[in-house]
Amino acid sequence: MSRLKVTAALVAAIATLTACGGGGTTAGGGDGKSLSGQTVEVVGTWSGDEQLRFEQVLSAFKEKTGAEVRYTPAGDELPTVLQTRVQGGTPPNVALVAQPGLVEQLAKAGSLKPLSADVEKLVTEHNAAVWKKLGTFEGKLYGVYFKAANKSTVWYSEKAFGQVGAEPPKTWEDFLKVGRAVVDTGQAAVSVGGADGWTLTDWFENVYLRTAGPENYDKLAKHEIPWTDPSVRKALETLAQLWGDPRLVDGGGAGALQTEFPKSVINVFGEPPKAAMVFEADFVASVITTNTKAKVGEDAKFFKFPSIGGSKDAVVAGGDVAVQLKDDEATNELMKFLASPDAGKVWAQLGGFLSPNKDIPEDNYPDDVTRELAKQLVDAGDNVRFDMSDLAPAAFGGTKGAGEWKALQDFLANPADIDGTLQRLESEAAKAYQK
């Protein structure tokens, strides 16, 4: 009983204090430090350099509002950490999650708080509609996409292109043509990191988004159309034009299946180079910097994934979405801050960051490469689609040696077998989605 009283007294005291604080700031002309003394806990995946940069974003929030923010990095174990804490009744205030599936699961379980109207307004204002849709479940907005990855970039070696006088291709036909010209110089056109299944799903998603269009992409992601659909066949046929020619792919299909993703980048930018181009997301740049002597922006450049059959600009993206697990003033303020361009600007200037927020001025990004990556992401507007394999059940889209990964690996080994691949994809998908 007495403890209850004490608690009540404390709550009252805090309420008075905050009320006073609030009153004080209004009187003082709004220096904005209305949240002093409150603490917000944030959980995310970033560690190392990324953690330091994100903490700068958070200290900008502290400067603005006075609230303390504590950041806990959880690395790849974030889903486990988050679920454990939710079940244990001590959720963090805010979590930054990379898996939309997890957000959906938490939202359905009622662990997430719907975002306030203020945040919703900011999200609508500063982002293409597609980002809001991605954060919405059952009609309510739960997530703000804070950091994004551009997974529609093809990186090429300037030297290899120079040898044949090639320009970055804009269409799939040109892409193949440039590839064949490169083959004449004794190099392969592309190096494919086929030992890792996720690189292959990214290939497929980019081609499918362009050959089948965003609407079909959404349907396939939800398994509303089967994988035996003619649109999937078309995408595989398009891919087979590249994968089916052993001269174009470094080492042919069998060689590619022995190549891990970092190796595929080194094959292009290391010494001696074995191929001229490698496709993957924006993080190829960091692999180049850490593993080769090539300079990003000079020796290593990129172009956007070529258009197929006149398709419009489209980007396959990944990203970290901020969700709210507690409903208090400081948390609401932090979500508002993360949804505003101010937060993104801080990290953008530090580098290694892309934002879906279209109101972050281009010159906030530190170099041309990042500027271009961010611009493509924003320019694609509503043609941005989230990585399909990340939306699918993990048994299908995220398991080593199984599901979509293995089916596409088998397809890379034998690109003539389109029928078999379609059957396999569909039967694996049916099994994974039905559960």
Binding site: G186, A195, R247, L257, A394
Partner: protein
């Protein structure tokens, strides 16, 4: 073992005359008094071993959520899933090959090292791999078997040996440009047209790095035709802004390339290109000739084998396990060897037996109990092999290399997380290990009695 040892004599006595034993004459052997001493161990045992075992068994009859009873459907699912069947097949290969090879090697090494001076040091070295975690060993072997000869030591050796016996070709991978009148054949690129003396043939090649043409090569030019000679030029048709199939400025000839003139299937002339890529057949009788460039010009360098590909992956992983476990076998067998009565060996030698006969007729039979224990222990070890497969097999061949323990982990905790099927797999794995365990326990018991 102590449990059974204490219980059985006490039990038999209890059965013999319970009433008489109201006061136990030998208090230390009373079952009632043993209980409090055994209780802690029993508790720990049942909490850590018995309960999980029973729970897995029960869990294997429920669906993925754990709330619906599904009967044996998890087991049906298991024996119809091609991935699990591959895992079964691989496990059989493992059990048949690996323990026998390791026991054999262990025996050989133990016997051979017995007589040398530095036996302990030698065995220590062989035992060292045991000190490394399986995970780390896996990473080592992943690199050892890497396909690129610059990284994988096995392929580096293979390629080195191969190249001792065959010279590398001057222009690996080069080929006539598509659309030119040459077709690939077993004897080399053969012209589809025929040429008579007096013509000058141009042969544009592609598929070779301009920077790798020998330094002495000079810009290629079209030879003038001469009525008595069949002439031509072979050049690398790659340059910035150059037209396909045309001799453009800056395109260089390919020296040292062998060209043959063929008539009616017979090679009648053979020549080599000069620094400007030109070749000449000076004394051909008039008539039509086919031109041919033999494959020795273009053979791709030998790159070794794809060890980590789908066909070789299981043998490769087994080989790394052998490297790790041989030390274990040696240690045990060497210990057994030192316990063999020397006089038996001496007696055999005095009777005139050769060393081989001593080994076969005396050493091995006397060692057989130890060999059997080592073998059975290894079988158990092999059945639960996991890390090596997980680490060594690249993602693209993980399915081909799959084993039951890995499959169990993937099914239960990997994507999807169906712990019902996972438990079913665990039960099957347990049933497979059980006979080996029972066998070992029986042996221990027999030795004790």
């Amino acid at each position: 073992m102590t449990v059974t040892a204490t219980r059985s004599p006490a039990g038999s006595r209890a059965g013999g005359g319970r009433r008489k034993l109201a006061v136990d004459p030998t208090p230390g052997r009373s079952p009632r008094q043993a209980v409090p001493f055994l209780l802690p161990a029993l508790l720990v045992l049942s909490a850590l071993v018995l309960y999980p075992l029973v729970y897995s068994l029960v869990r294997s009859f429920f669906d993925r959520s754990g709330s619906t009873f599904v009967g044996v459907s998890n087991y049906v699912n298991l024996f119809t899933d091609p991935r699990t069947l591959t895992a079964f097949k691989n496990n059989v290969i493992w059990v048949v090959v690996a323990p026998a090879v390791v026991t054999g090697l262990g025996l050989i090494f133990a016997v051979l090292t017995e007589r040398i001076k530095w036996a302990t040091a030698f065995r220590l070295v062989l035992f060292m791999p045991m000190a490394i975690s399986l995970f780390a060993s896996g990473i080592i072997f992943r690199l050892v078997y890497e396909e690129d000869p610059k990284q994988g030591v096995v392929n580096a050796v293979t390629v080195g040996v191969h190249d001792l016996f065959s010279d590398p070709s001057p222009y690996p991978g080069a080929r006539p440009r598509d659309g030119q009148p040459f077709t690939p054949a077993e004897e080399g690129f053969t012209s589809t047209k025929t040429f008579a003396p007096g013509t000058a043939v141009s042969v544009p090649l592609v598929g070779f790095q301009p920077g790798q043409i020998p330094k002495e090569a000079s810009p290629a030019s079209q030879p003038s035709s001469d009525a008595r000679e069949l002439r031509g030029v072979v050049w690398l048709d790659v340059s910035v802004g150059g037209k396909a199939g045309q001799l453009d400025q800056g395109e260089r000839g390919m020296p040292g390339l062998v060209v043959e003139a063929v008539r009616d299937g017979q090679v009648v002339g053979r020549t080599t290109t000069g620094n400007d890529g030109r070749f000449t057949f000076p004394d051909l009788t008039s008539g039509d000739y086919t031109l041919r460039m033999p494959p020795s010009n273009f053979a791709l360098p030998f790159r070794g084998l794809t060890w980590l590909g789908p066909s070789l992956i299981t043998p490769v992983i087994i080989s790394s396990w052998i490297w790790i476990m041989t030390g274990f076998a040696i240690t045990f067998i060497a210990a057994g060897l030192s316990a063999i009565p020397r006089d038996a060996l001496e007696a055999a030698r005095v009777d005139g037996a050769t060393e081989w006969q001593v080994f076969k007729r005396v050493t091995v039979p006397l060692l057989s109990p130890v060999l059997l224990v080592v073998f059975v222990t290894l079988v158990i070890n092999v059945l639960k092999i996991f890390e090596l497969v997980f680490v060594i097999a690249p993602g693209s061949v993980q399915e081909e290399a799959n084993v039951l323990a890995l499959q169990m982990w993937q099914v239960s905790f990997g994507a999807g997380g169906d712990q019902g099927v996972g438990s079913a797999l665990a039960v099957v794995l347990f049933l497979l290990v059980a006979p080996a365990m029972l066998f070992n326990i029986r042996r221990f018991r027999r030795e004790q009695s």
